[in-house]
């Protein structure tokens, strides 16, 4: 069933953005996963996931940011409360200027989770209504979850 869903999603994405809209698609521990470039992750795609009759991914569960040293990635975990199905969407972006369109206009749950990702990894989410630091202080320098972040022990009073 998951394979069918994956094929369906790939097909729908291709109709929307033309062939090769997806970098990679696979089943990850039995759940469909699609990997996109950041330029293909736009409002139309998000609306498709949210509104399409066969998809109906109305519940955004988790937003994760990852620093892969060569590039950055934002992972969205979706769930459909009506059709009871799951989806991973991974959006690749560059490390120099990490930008991923905000999902917040469609799924409000992205509000805090994207702010957290911005706060700890420095990924920009254009379209977010109030993108600012959430867990760290407003004047904090650097992004702690980046792999090249150096913890200043002196400033933290640990040394």
């Amino acid at each position: 069933m998951s394979q069918e869903l994956l094929d369906l999603i790939v097909e729908k994405f291709n109709t929307l953005h033309g062939e090769e809209s997806i970098v990679e698609s696979k089943l990850n521990f039995g759940k469909p996963m699609v990997i996109l470039g950041t330029e293909k992750w736009d409002l139309a795609t998000a609306k498709l996931l949210h509104d399409d009759e066969q998809l109906q991914f109305d519940f955004l569960t988790c937003v994760t940011g990852v620093d892969y040293e060569e590039h950055m990635e934002v992972i969205y975990n979706f769930y459909s409360t009506t059709l009871d199905q799951y989806l991973y969407v991974k959006v690749n972006t560059s490390r120099e200027e990490p930008t991923v369109m905000s999902a917040e206009p469609i799924w409000k749950s992205a509000d805090y989770m994207e702010r957290e990702t911005f706060d700890l990894l420095g990924i920009d989410f254009p379209g977010h209504w109030r993108l600012k630091r959430i867990l760290l202080e407003d004047d904090w320098e650097g992004y702690p979850l980046r792999k090249d972040y150096i913890t200043d022990k002196k400033a933290l009073g640990l040394d």
Partner: protein, 370 residues
């Protein structure tokens, strides 16, 4: 008489406000007694758990999960361990799964009891708090006997659990369940029908079904608005598919509905514990490989695992690159997502309902700030 000039006032509630049970600030704009804007400010307890995870061996991170939602640490332990087990593709011994379920459900009741007591304390009823903490203490005694700690258990392990149940523990739990059954019923009689309590909670802080889904709210908040999502049923983990229990839901979506859902949930948890205590088999409590902590090295890959904590859906996104330390651990904390609704929910409400609404979300700040 000429018209009085009015203006809005900015009011800071917190960070040291008793009803937050932690450190949390609400920046309010009030027009007289009506809230015009509410901005949650958090991070006072931020300890960088996700960053710490990258510096430790896989097994060394378990105690840190205890400190997220410290009222419901067993589920935190579980969800982290199960994510790593999924990456490793390990099977967990039967007896360990049963011990996990019993401890998680006991912990859920303890967490709901704390909520029940402190919530009523927040809205002005002193005595329920004392009753709730008396019974919570009984549960913590049971958990202490099996794990060696009252709150930060560090009990679940990758591949099983740390200790087997001491002799006679299962029988003791069965006794506790009976006792709790009577006592929680008594709590229900003591408070639920109270006229003042109902006047403060019925029709207050109403959340629609659509809002719940769009804002990603989970747990008793979602189920109080008629959204029947519970990971134990929608995607049964551990051995939850073996037990007979219901998911209590209410349609009203107000504070009272969330209250009723939590009370009903405690009885469902008791049902699960009863069944688990009867079915629990003898056997190993941890896989052989799980005992060699230094050797836990999941193959490169990633997975998102979820579980139903007392506050909602807790999730771990684990990424491994084949080394003995995690490459990235993302913690999806239910309170963090649930608290975001305050920006929307409080607007237009009267200021005397603020504590009643905020309390009904059952937010734990250790979890919000990670």
């Amino acid at each position: 008489m000429s018209e009085l000039k009015t203006e809005t006032m900015t009011l800071n509630m917190g960070p040291q406000h008793p009803s937050t049970h932690g450190v949390f600030r609400l920046q309010l704009k009030v027009d007289g007694e009506t809230i015009k804007e509410a901005i949650p400010v958090m991070g006072y307890l931020h300890r960088g758990s996700e960053k710490l995870a990258e510096r430790f061996l896989y097994s060394q991170f378990i105690p840190y999960t205890d400190r997220l939602d410290y009222l419901n640490a067993m589920t935190n332990n579980y969800v982290y361990c199960s994510a790593i087990e999924e990456l490793l593709e390990w099977e967990v011994p039967e007896r360990a799964e049963y011990l996990r379920v019993i401890t998680m459900e006991l912990n859920r009741i303890a967490s709901h009891l704390v909520w029940w007591g402190t919530y009523l304390l927040d809205i002005g009823a002193m005595s329920p708090f004392l009753y709730a903490f008396r019974d919570r203490e009984t549960i913590l005694d049971r958990l202490n006997e099996i794990s060696g700690a009252r709150m930060t258990f560090n009990y679940h392990r990758i591949g099983g659990v740390k200790w087997d149940a001491p002799e006679g523990w299962i029988e003791k739990v069965q006794e506790t369940v009976k006792e709790l059954h009577t006592n929680i019923q008594e709590f229900d009689v003591l408070v639920t029908g109270n006229e003042i309590f109902q006047a403060r909670t019925i029709g207050v802080g109403i959340l629609s079904k659509e809002k719940v889904i769009n804002w990603g709210l989970s747990g008793p908040i979602a189920r109080g608005s008629g959204v029947a999502i519970d990971v134990r049923k929608t995607e049964p983990y551990s051995i939850y598919d073996r037990f007979d229990f219901d998911i209590p839901t209410r349609e009203e979506g107000d504070v009272f509905a969330r209250y009723k859902v939590r009370i009903a949930e405690m009885f469902e948890s008791l049902k699960i514990i009863e069944q688990a205590c009867e079915q629990i088999p003898e056997g190993d409590i941890i896989t052989k490989k799980g005992k060699r902590l230094m050797m836990i090295k999941p193959p490169a890959g990633e997975v998102y695992r979820r579980a139903e904590a007392s506050k909602g859906e807790i999730g771990v996104y684990a990424i491994s690159n084949g080394k003995n330390k995690p490459y990235r651990i993302k913690l999806r904390r239910p309170s963090f997502v649930n608290v975001s609704i305050l920006q929307d929910l409080l607007v237009g409400e009267s200021i005397q309902n603020l504590v009643a609404i905020f309390g009904s979300l059952d937010v734990v700040l250790g979890e919000v700030d990670a």
